[in-house]
């Protein structure tokens, strides 16, 4: 019955049209547009531009030490974030879950930083790093606190991690908490009766039951960490020099300051997209397989 099929299509399109139109205008077309520009030498100012094939990609990967450095710096950041953010969030979640009376209190406290915008967090911490800590160091002679926290590249990486974790751990913690609540108490008790200690119980009973949450949190952290921008922007601005410049900031700089090389910056953002895609797919495949095994 062709009329029925036609009607189904029509109603499908009618229902999806509002979402689809706005999505196409502001997400789909720009995505394709970015890929298109990445093959040109357009500078954002001139009215004309030429196609230069893979030239931008070759230049970014072989002849742009700043971009490559920002890539490595971002990778380092992603690695540290995945490990630390999830470890801390999981430990906090397990610990909080074990409290009875103070559960709600700690949950509220640890999640609060997450509500505050990243850029505002970065500003608050700038105050702490540049003003408060040096003063505490002076007064208490805890001299290790008196560092050039955001000026010295050795420490600014640590500062960036601290602020990111402060801001992000709460979110992961909530997800872990929800997962932990799904672990039946009876199973844990059974393990303890069998003579397992707390750690063993956690490893053999709890862990397998929250692997799904771990996959999700790894995914979220991975995705978020590759796109990090605001913490670095608010804290160090990528400096001193470009020592804390992350990929997104390198792209931003290329497109909106510097030489305004739109085409070239677009190529860099395509590279970022591909990297995130690969990492995410690998992570999901590997962890899903683990989930099934467990």
């Amino acid at each position: 019955m062709p009329t029925k099929a036609y009607k189904t299509y029509l109603s499908l399109l009618a229902f999806t049209a509002p979402a689809l139109i706005l999505y196409a205008i502001f997400l789909l077309v720009p995505t394709i547009g970015g890929m298109y520009y990445s093959f040109t030498d357009w500078n954002g100012l001139n009215r004309s531009y030429d196609f230069i094939g893979l030239g931008n990609f070759v230049e970014a990967l072989t002849d742009d030490p700043d971009f490559v450095n920002s890539l490595w710096f971002t990778l380092k950041y992603v690695l540290f974030m995945i490990v630390l953010q999830n470890a801390i969030a999981l430990v906090l979640a397990v610990f909080i879950e074990s409290r009875k009376k103070s559960k709600g209190f700690f949950r509220t406290i640890f999640f609060m930083p997450n509500m505050i915008s990243t850029i505002i967090s970065a500003f608050m911490w700038t105050f702490v790093f540049t003003q408060v800590l040096p003063q505490i160091a002076e007064k208490t002679s805890m001299l290790f606190l008196d560092q050039s926290w955001i000026g010295d590249p050795k420490y600014s990486f640590v500062s960036i991690l601290i602020v990111s974790l402060w801001n992000g751990v709460g979110y992961m913690m909530i997800i872990y908490l929800a997962a932990l609540q799904g672990v039946p108490q009876s199973l844990k008790e059974a393990a303890i009766i069998d003579g397992a200690n707390a750690f063993q119980t956690f490893r053999s009973v709890t862990m397998p039951m929250i692997t799904h949450a771990i996959t999700i949190c790894f995914f979220l952290t991975l995705n978020g960490a590759f796109k990090v921008f605001e913490v670095v922007f608010g804290l160090t601005g990528g400096g001193p020099g470009r020592s804390t410049q992350v990929i997104t900031m390198n792209i931003y700089e290329e497109a909106f300051s510097n030489n305004f090389r739109y085409g070239y910056a677009s190529a860099k953002s395509v590279i970022l997209f591909v990297i995130i895609l690969i990492f995410t797919l690998v992570q999901i495949t590997v962890m899903k397989r683990k989930e099934v095994e467990a």
């Binding site: 030498d41 500078n43 954002g44 009215r47 010295d152 020099g241 020592s243 030489n259 090389r261």
Partner: protein
């Protein structure tokens, strides 16, 4: 289906409205929103909407006042009702906003740009109206005219803000130790030693914002280009992918001297912090232009400071003041209201009203019509200029200036060697050439 149609229409209407909201006069935008523009009909009394773009929000009231005077004058003399829409984004992203406007055929009639950094590329891209035959050009002082003149001899902007600078020094500290601004690098070393011996930190370092360490480059390059025969055509050669910054290696002599004798935690001190610290007497000298005078005096109104030229080698003739123009007004080539736009530009250098305007803005005199007294620090610099010890700010592309700021931060942090700095600068200039070929 009724309900649905209603909702859809509402959404569509809302999106169209949103589109119109920022569309205003529809200046030069092609037919993508047919009914949206508001181009005034031709038969009625003449009224013009002039769009301006000036990235100096802190000076808004002065601009507003002057614009009000202008509209009154225009009405009285030409019977044109002028409505001025002035946009003043913060300076940080002004260039980006302006650039997107221009590229999408949405140029403001009058816009402010940086004379040295922006004029060459904007002119090349065809966005600037030739103003050479405008009356105001005849009034410009000879010392500022070159900054707004293109390589082919056309005046394309009106300079508002001009600068004559080197570094700032604390006059009282210098006087107490009976020091005078040194004329050679060796003399500078002696000054530094004497300050150190008296427990005064010689230099204030404020490298948090990369444009501050960046200042070394125009000073060093400007001096070398104007005194060394081999470097005369440096800019031209660099623009043809021929030269290299390694020719300027000697600029690190002064940079190393300053870095080694400066205040702590330089990479955490920004411009404002620096101004406060300099005002508080934390150091005797600050590599900074007099554009921070107002901020310094705000935190210490009694501070007596002066402007001096930075020695970069032992050639006393190379110790010169940098003359430059920054904020300048240009008229869009595609403006539909050129007549009024040009009237405004000429009014900026009006014989009677201009004095008060420039004084309110605290800008330096730039034209023969300006008769007001300049500030003491401007007079310091003028002494050098009168003695012939000044040069026009070399036309180093903005991208290279941005690069050098970041590189010198890294150099200070010990993360880049001198050679790496030169390499990065050469690359930045080359990619500038590539983009602006």
């Amino acid at each position: 289906m009724k309900m649905w149609t209603g909702v859809l229409t509402t959404v569509m209407a809302a999106s169209l409205l949103a589109g119109c909201a920022s569309n205003n006069t529809g200046n030069g935008n092609a037919a993508n929103t047919g009914n949206a523009g508001g181009d005034s009909g031709s038969g009625e009394a003449k009224s013009v909407t002039l769009k301006m773009f000036v990235a100096q929000p802190r000076l808004k009231e002065h601009y507003d006042k002057y614009i009000a005077q202008f509209t009154a004058k225009e009405k009285a003399e030409k019977n044109i009702d002028v409505t001025v829409q002035i946009e003043m984004p913060p300076a940080d992203n002004a260039a980006q906003i302006l650039k997107t406007r221009l590229a999408s055929n949405d140029a403001p009639d009058i816009f402010a740009l940086h004379a040295i950094n922006d004029i060459p590329s904007y002119y090349k891209a065809g966005y600037l109206e030739d103003l050479s035959d405008q009356p105001f050009v005849g009034k410009l002082l000879d010392s500022v005219k070159p900054a707004v003149t293109t390589t082919d001899g056309k005046v394309v902007a009106l300079p508002l803000e001009t600068l004559s600078w080197g570094y700032l020094y604390n006059k009282k500290m210098f006087a107490d130790l009976s020091l005078t601004p040194p004329t050679t690098l060796t003399e500078m070393k002696a000054v530094v030693d004497k300050l150190n011996a008296n427990n005064i930190t010689p230099f204030l370092l404020s490298y948090k914002e990369s444009w501050i360490p960046q200042l070394f480059l125009p000073l060093a390059a400007g001096a070398l280009i104007n005194t060394e025969d081999a470097e005369k055509d440096f800019i031209t050669r660099m623009s043809n992918d021929e030269g290299s910054f390694s020719e300027m290696k000697s600029m690190f002599d002064v940079i190393d001297l300053v870095n080694a004798n400066g205040t702590d935690k330089a990479l955490e001190v920004g411009g404002d912090d620096g101004a406060a610290a300099f005002a508080a007497g934390k150091a005797a000298m600050w590599l900074q232009g007099p554009w921070y005078a107002e901020t310094i005096l705000k935190s210490n109104p009694d501070l007596d400071f002066g402007v001096a030229a930075l020695p970069i080698n032992d050639n006393a003739n190379a110790t010169m003041i940098n003359l430059s123009a920054s904020t300048s007004l240009a008229v869009s080539k595609t403006s539909k209201n050129k007549e009024v736009a040009l009237d405004f530009l000429n009014y900026v250098l009006d014989d009677t009203d201009s004095n008060a305007f420039f004084q309110a803005l605290k800008f330096n005199p730039i034209a023969t019509v300006h008769t007001f007294d300049s500030y003491p620090w401007v007079n310091d610099a003028t002494e050098y200029v009168k003695a012939g010890k000044s040069y026009q700010d070399p036309a180093i592309p903005q991208a290279v200036k941005d690069e050098v700021g970041k590189d010198l931060q890294s150099y200070y942090a010990g993360q880049m060697s001198q050679d790496e700095v030169f390499k990065a600068l050469d690359k930045a200039w080359k990619s500038f050439n590539k983009v602006n070929k």
